[in-house]
């Protein structure tokens, strides 16, 4: 098939040809930012890491598992988060909670023996939080998830049960 080429260029107007107007316009913008930043102290950047960025309450960051007043995880190892997770990054092994560690009686007989989240695979969709019938797994506001080794990116139960205030 023959290709038809359409020329969409147009001739410049005389203002555009006389480029000094555009230069003055640009200089004005620079001047505005200079005055805002230097005299009025309004910054668009922050001094990270001394200063932290404020995110919305709905930000989805690193996971945590909520605990009750006895520091027992609320998770009952129902595997619903593992089932729903599109990235297949949750691995749970369930077991029975010893009755001595279970002051709530039959309510908490099942517990996760292992609960691993591979944060490198996680896409932070929040489906796990959505699926959880016990409000156990949640995504905190923590966004600093850089690690120096691969094994640190795998969150285990101990890490997940860390204390999180509000949404972290």
């Amino acid at each position: 098939m023959a290709t038809k080429t359409v020329n969409v260029s147009r001739p410049y107007t005389w203002q555009e040809k006389f480029y000094l107007f555009a230069i003055v316009q640009g200089l004005l913008i620079t001047l505005k930012h200079f005055i805002n930043g230097f005299f009025l102290r309004k910054h668009n950047t922050i001094m990270y890491p001394e200063v932290k960025r404020e995110y919305s309450n709905r930000f989805r960051g690193s996971h945590f598992i909520s605990v009750d007043k006895n520091k027992t995880e609320n998770c009952t190892a129902c595997y619903l988060c593992q089932t729903v997770c599109p990235a297949e990054c949750i691995t749970i092994v369930a077991g029975e909670r010893e009755s001595s560690k279970n002051p709530d009686g039959v309510k908490k007989e099942k517990r996760p023996v292992r609960f691993d989240i591979d944060s490198l695979r996680c896409c932070f969709c929040g489906f796990c939080e959505e699926a959880c019938p016990k409000d156990a797994i949640k995504l905190s506001g923590k966004y600093e998830m850089a690690a120096t080794s691969r094994s640190d990116t795998k969150y285990d139960l101990i890490y997940l049960k860390r204390e999180v205030k509000g949404r972290g």
Binding site: T76, A77, C78, T83, A94, G95, E96, V106, K110, P133
Partner: protein, 513 residues
Amino acid sequence: MCNTTDINREMGKHEIALNYCSNKHAVQKGANPAPKLILDGEVVEFVAGDTILQVAERAGRGHLIPRYCYHPGLPIAGTCRMCTVEVEKMVKLMTACSTPAADGMVVHTKTERVLKSRAGVMEFLLINHPLDCPVCDKAGECDLQDNNYRYGPVTSSFLEDKRTYPKAATKKLSEKITLNMNRCVHCERCVRFSEEVVKSCDLMMVNRSWHKELTLADDKLGLTSEYQGCLSDFCPVGALTFNDFRFVKRSWFLQRHPSVCDGCSKGCNIEVHSEDNIIYRFTPAYNEKINGHWICDTGRLSYHQVMDPTRIVRPMLAHNGALQATSWELAQAATGHLLETAKKVKVVIGTDATIEEIRYLQAALPDMFGSKFTFRSFNGTGTLSTSSQDKKLDHLLIMQDKTANLRGAEECKLAPLENGQINDSDLVLLVRFGRSAVPAVGNGQKLILLGVWNSAEQASLGAAVEVMLPGLATVEKSGTYINCDGIRQQFIPAVVHLGEGMAVNRLLRFTKK
């Protein structure tokens, strides 16, 4: 599930006992023409004596009628009222499971009245149900979940506190079964099972209505039957759960494939539940001629043998007096060399090998290495060596012979090993698949082991073992068994073997260059 071709089949006494009520009336001679009724506007034929629910099942439409207390392997109780249907010219709704079908009946299963009744039953059941689904092992295969999803009310009008059974919350009824009374829907399938099928009479219901509670007949004894796992299969909810499967896996992850249990000569049909080829449980598969709806606990737990961590799944070769893992090439070459140089070889095949395996060995070995082989079978269940000595150990399924294919070995004209002793040959090829016992081997004979062995069994034979060639267990291979009643059963692999084991014919093929 029955289909219409089953109807005219003659049934033996044993089969009727197994299929307590579903096919009880199957033998009907001279009932011509067959009676008919109209089910949801469709004419279906049935066998006189069927109830409406059984008619629907025969017509392949059993899914139209939800049920809790009805189970095809158990006597009819009619207690749960979930199965109500509308029958024209009858004032009240009728329970499909217990109303005998009559010629010319017009039955509706989907009218507004029926749906309202089902929603009512569901609401009543859910009043006291804990909704433990997140921790309940039944979730995913639970009749209460399914029926509530299909027929249940969206909301409940019950605001009061739920009934709970504090003492019986979770109670171990035996080593194998845990009861959670709060989840029970009082269908009494378990009670009928213990009374009518296994006849151990160890479960009973005490009190009435709100306080109705399932208890053990004898608290100290616990459950005594050999078929306890079946309780957790047919309990429509998670009240009775099998301890071996407790908290192990959620049921929706499991893939289900049919196979045959090789735990005794009965050859019960099973379903293998696995994920990523790791087996998590065996459950019974219905076969009216062999096991009905049941399997015994020993068979149910026998998947542990396939998944045994000490099972040898790599080829091994004797090196400096000890067996060491090696590659298939070396193991096959060593096997070929041993078979080539030996003068007199005895091949002892366990009666747990399939017919195909026995036939292959009988044909291929002399073909490859000449006629220096004598073939013998070995069973090893006590002194049992022929199928005529095999006998039933209880009224239901369990047989004395603990291997699956003694009859098949006899069909292949395999003579039993004399005195259970192996003597006077240079080389012994011992083929067994984890079920037949290990025969006694006299001194001065070299040994090649083939099949399913665990390290203890292999170690019991001492330093005589030259080569170990791992094979496939029943659920991992295809083949044919003939069971104690002479029924020929073919099966295909249910899972893929996770080790390096190979089928016998593949494994021996390259032993000779």
